[in-house]
C-alpha cells in the first residue's frame, strides 16, 4: 500500500511538474529546456565498484560521482561490497539491475565473476559505462564506454620521462608480479626506453613487506651501479625505494618515478627526491561516466565510438606537487 501511495504521489508530482512546466515554460523560445531539466531530476544512475568507500583512492572517485550528480542535477547512488568480494559484487549488480536504473557504472576487476551480471544489465537495455579496471573486456560485454587509465600508455609515458631525465639503465620495481595490469605497466616502460636504447630489468618485491623491498632495491643498485633510473609501480614500493636511495646516498643521481600518489610521495616530489608520479586522475573516473550516461540518455551520443577514454597518465612533478597536495585535501586528487 505504501508503495502504491508513493507511486501515486510520484505520478501526481510528475503531472504537477508537467503542468508547471507548460504554464511557466514560456511559449516557443525554450520548450525543450524545462522538460529536459525536470526529466533530469528523475534520472537515476547506480555505480557498483570494488572500491570500499573508506579507501582513500576510491573516496576520490565517489567525490567525482557526487560532484557530477550535483552539477548535472541527476541522482547517483554508490554501492560497493565491504571486502574484495566479487560474488557479493555480482549480486549487487543484479540488485541494481532489478531496480532498473537509467544508467549503470561498474568497475570490472574480475571479468569471469562479473561478466554475466554486466551482460544481463545490457540485455535489459540499461546503458553501462565501465570504469577503472576491465578496459579490455568492456566493449565485448556491451558497455558504451570505458573510463580509466591505459596501463601500457602510462608505463610508456613514465619511460619517456625517465629517458628525458637522462636515465641510461632502468629498474622496474614490481610489487605484484603476476597482476596483469602491473606487468603491462612494466612492458610500456620497457618499450618506451627501448626506443632510446635504454635497457630495463624487472625487480619483483613483496607488496606487504616494505623492509624487504628496501633491501632488494639496495641490493640491485649495489649489484649493478650503472642503474640510474627506477620506476616503481605503486606507492607501496616507492617509499622503500626512496629509503634505499637515501641509504646509499644516491638520491638525485638515480632518477626515481612512481605510479600513484600518497602524502609521502607528494612531499618527496616537492622536496625534489622523487622526479615524478604518474597519476591516473581517478576523480575523472567518477565524474565522466555520469556525464557520458546523461549525454547518452538525452542525445544518444557516445564519444570515441565506445573506445576507452583514458583518465591518465597525468604527471605530478616538482612544479605541481604543492598544488596537488592542496587539491588532495579537497578530495579531488
Amino acid at each position: 500500500m505504501l508503495t502504491k501511495g508513493n507511486s501515486q504521489i510520484a505520478s501526481l508530482s510528475r503531472l504537477v511538474a508537467a503542468l508547471v512546466a507548460t504554464a511557466c515554460g514560456a511559449p516557443a523560445d525554450r520548450p525543450g529546456a524545462s522538460t529536459s531539466d525536470s526529466s533530469r531530476a528523475d534520472l537515476r544512475i547506480v555505480a557498483v565498484t570494488h572500491g570500499v568507500s573508506a579507501n582513500p583512492f576510491w573516496s576520490v572517485v565517489i567525490n567525482g560521482l557526487d560532484d557530477a550528480a550535483r552539477d548535472l542535477g541527476v541522482r547517483v547512488e554508490y554501492q560497493a561490497p565491504n571486502t574484495f568480494d566479487m560474488v557479493a559484487m555480482s549480486e549487487m549488480i543484479d540488485a541494481a539491475v532489478a531496480s532498473r536504473p537509467d544508467g549503470l557504472v561498474v568497475s570490472i576487476p574480475d571479468p569471469a565473476a562479473l561478466g554475466a551480471s554486466i551482460r544481463a544489465a545490457v540485455e535489459v537495455g540499461i546503458p553501462v559505462v565501465t570504469i577503472n579496471s576491465g578496459g579490455d573486456v568492456s566493449a565485448s560485454l556491451g558497455a558504451l564506454a570505458h573510463v580509466g587509465q591505459a596501463e601500457y600508455d602510462a608505463g610508456f609515458g613514465g619511460g619517456e620521462r625517465l629517458a628525458q631525465a637522462g636515465a641510461r639503465r632502468v629498474l622496474c620495481v614490481n610489487q605484484e608480479v603476476g597482476n596483469a595490469a602491473l606487468d603491462t605497466r612494466c612492458q610500456g616502460l620497457t618499450d618506451a626506453l627501448a626506443e632510446h636504447n635504454v635497457p630495463v630489468s624487472v625487480l619483483a618485491v613483496e607488496l606487504a613487506d616494505p623492509e624487504d623491498t628496501r633491501q632488494r632495491v639496495a641490493g640491485a643498485l649495489l649489484a649493478d651501479p650503472t642503474i640510474d633510473g627506477i620506476l616503481t609501480l605503486g606507492t607501496t614500493a616507492a617509499e622503500p625505494a626512496l629509503a634505499a636511495l637515501r641509504d646509499l646516498g644516491r638520491v638525485g643521481t638515480v632518477r626515481l618515478g612512481t605510479f600513484d600518489l600518497s602524502t609521502e610521495v607528494l612531499e618527496s616530489i616537492r622536496d625534489g627526491e622523487i622526479d615524478f608520479a604518474i597519476d591516473q586522475q581517478q576523480y575523472l573516473q567518477g565524474y565522466l561516466p555520469v556525464v557520458l550516461l546523461v549525454l547518452f540518455i538525452e542525445t544518444g551520443t557516445v564519444p570515441g565510438g565506445g573506445r576507452a577514454i583514458p583518465t591518465g597518465p597525468g604527471f605530478v612533478t616538482i612544479e605541481t606537487a604543492q598544488q596537488v597536495m592542496d587539491l588532495t585535501r579537497r578530495g579531488v586528487r
Binding site: 508503495t3 554501492q79 557479493a88 532489478a98 531496480s99 603476476g178
Partner: protein, 334 residues
C-alpha cells in the same frame, strides 16, 4: 501475564526460528515499500534468493554445529580453498572436472575432520581452534595459488572436460533467473531438518550441545558426533566453493572472506543459541533469507551500501534480544 494467555498468543512464537520467520515477513514488507516494484518483481526476488542461497547452505552446516555446541570460523576459508582446489586440480594438474570435485570434497572433509579431532582431543574452545584454521587455510590457499600460477585469480574452468554437466548441477539458473543453488540450499536444509527431528542423530546433536555429560552417561559418543558436525559444516562450505567456482568459471583466493561471520549471524538471527543445545535449521534458513533481502533490498532502494553493515549489526543485536526473551518465556511456560 498468566500462563494461559501465554499459551494462546505466544505459543506459536515460543519455538526457535519462529521469530526469524516473522522478522523475514516484516523485512519483506519493509523493502516492498521502500524499494517499490523492483523488490517485488521476479528479477528482484531472484536477486535476493540467489544472494541468500550460498549463505543459506553455509548456515545449515553451521546451525547443526552450533546446536551441537561448537563454532566453526573456518567455513569462509574453506569456501576459498575449495574453489581454488577445483581450479588448480583441473587447469594446473590436468584432471577432468568431476574427479577434481571429488578430490576437493575429500580435502574439505579432511579439514573438517582435523578441526573436530583437535577440538575433541584437546578440549580447547572451537572458537580458537577454527580461528587458527581460518588463517592457515586462507594463507595456504593464497600460497598455493601463487606458487602454482603466480596469480590469485584463476579462470577458464569452462574449457575443462565435464564442465557442461557441472554447470547444470551447480551453476545454472533454470527457472526465471532463480539459480540452482537455491535448490541445493533448500535440499540441504530439508535433509538437516529431517536428521535433527526424525533420527537418533538429531537427539545426539541436541544432547551433545545441551548436556554433553548427561549425553555421555547415556552412551552418546559426543566426540564422534562433534567430529561429524565439523565435517558437515566443512562439506557445506565446500559445496558453496564448488558452486561459485563452476558458476563463475574460475576461483579467487579471497573468495568466502567474512562468510564465517555472516553464517553465524544468520544462524543466531534464526534463533539458535550460542551456548548450544537449542535451535533449528529452519530458523537459519530464515536468517539467511533476511540477510539476502536486506543486502539486496538496500541496493534496490538506493540506500548507500555503507548502511548494510549498520543494519546487519543492529539485526544481530535485536535477534539476540528476541531470542533471550523467547527463551525466558518458553522456560516460564513449561
Amino acid at each position: 501475564m498468566s500462563r494461559r494467555e501465554a499459551g494462546i498468543f505466544t505459543r506459536p512464537f515460543l519455538r526457535p526460528g519462529a521469530a526469524a520467520a516473522v522478522g523475514a515477513v516484516l523485512i519483506w514488507l519493509l523493502f516492498a515499500g521502500a524499494a517499490g516494484s523492483a523488490f517485488r518483481s521476479m528479477a528482484g526476488t531472484a536477486s535476493y534468493l540467489n544472494a541468500a542461497a550460498p549463505l543459506g547452505i553455509l548456515a545449515v552446516g553451521v546451525a547443526l554445529l552450533m546446536i551441537g555446541g561448537e563454532f566453526d570460523l573456518s567455513v569462509g576459508s574453506i569456501v576459498g580453498v575449495s574453489g581454488m582446489s577445483v581450479m588448480l586440480l583441473t587447469t594446473e594438474l590436468g584432471w577432468s572436472l568431476w574427479p577434481a570435485i571429488a578430490g576437493t570434497v575429500v580435502l574439505c572433509l579432511l579439514i573438517g575432520f582435523l578441526n573436530g579431532l583437535t577440538v575433541v582431543r584437546t578440549q580447547l574452545p572451537s572458537f580458537i581452534v577454527t580461528l587458527a584454521t581460518l588463517f592457515m587455510v586462507r594463507g595456504l590457499t593464497i600460497a598455493a595459488a601463487r606458487g602454482f600460477t603466480r596469480r590469485t585469480q584463476l579462470g577458464g574452468l569452462d574449457e575443462v572436460a565435464g564442465y557442461e554437466l557441472a554447470r547444470a548441477a551447480f551453476g545454472s539458473a533454470p527457472v526465471a533467473g532463480l539459480r540452482i543453488s537455491i535448490a541445493w540450499w533448500l535440499g540441504c536444509a530439508a535433509l538437516a531438518t529431517w536428521v535433527l527431528l526424525r533420527t537418533p542423530w538429531g537427539n545426539w546433536i541436541l544432547a551433545a550441545g545441551g548436556q554433553p555429560e548427561a549425553a555421555r552417561n547415556v552412551g552418546v559418543r559426543v566426540g564422534r558426533v562433534k567430529i561429524g558436525l565439523f565435517m558437515t559444516s566443512a562439506l557445506c562450505a565446500c559445496l558453496v566453493g564448488i558452486i561459485q567456482a563452476v558458476r563463475f568459471s574460475g576461483a579467487d583466493a579471497l573468495r568466502g572472506q567474512l562468510q564465517e561471520f555472516y553464517a553465524i549471524i544468520a544462524v543466531v538471527i534464526g534463533g539458535t543459541l550460542l551456548t548450544g543445545g537449542y535451535g533449528t535449521v529452519i530458523g537459519a534458513v530464515f536468517g539467511a533469507l533476511i540477510f539476502g533481502m536486506v543486502r539486496q533490498g538496500i541496493v534496490m532502494s538506493g540506500i548507500d551500501a555503507d548502511w548494510f553493515q549498520v543494519c546487519l549489526g543492529a539485526m544481530l543485536l535485536l535477534a539476540v534480544f528476541v531470542n533471550r526473551y523467547v527463551l525466558l518465556r518458553a522456560q516460564r511456560a513449561s
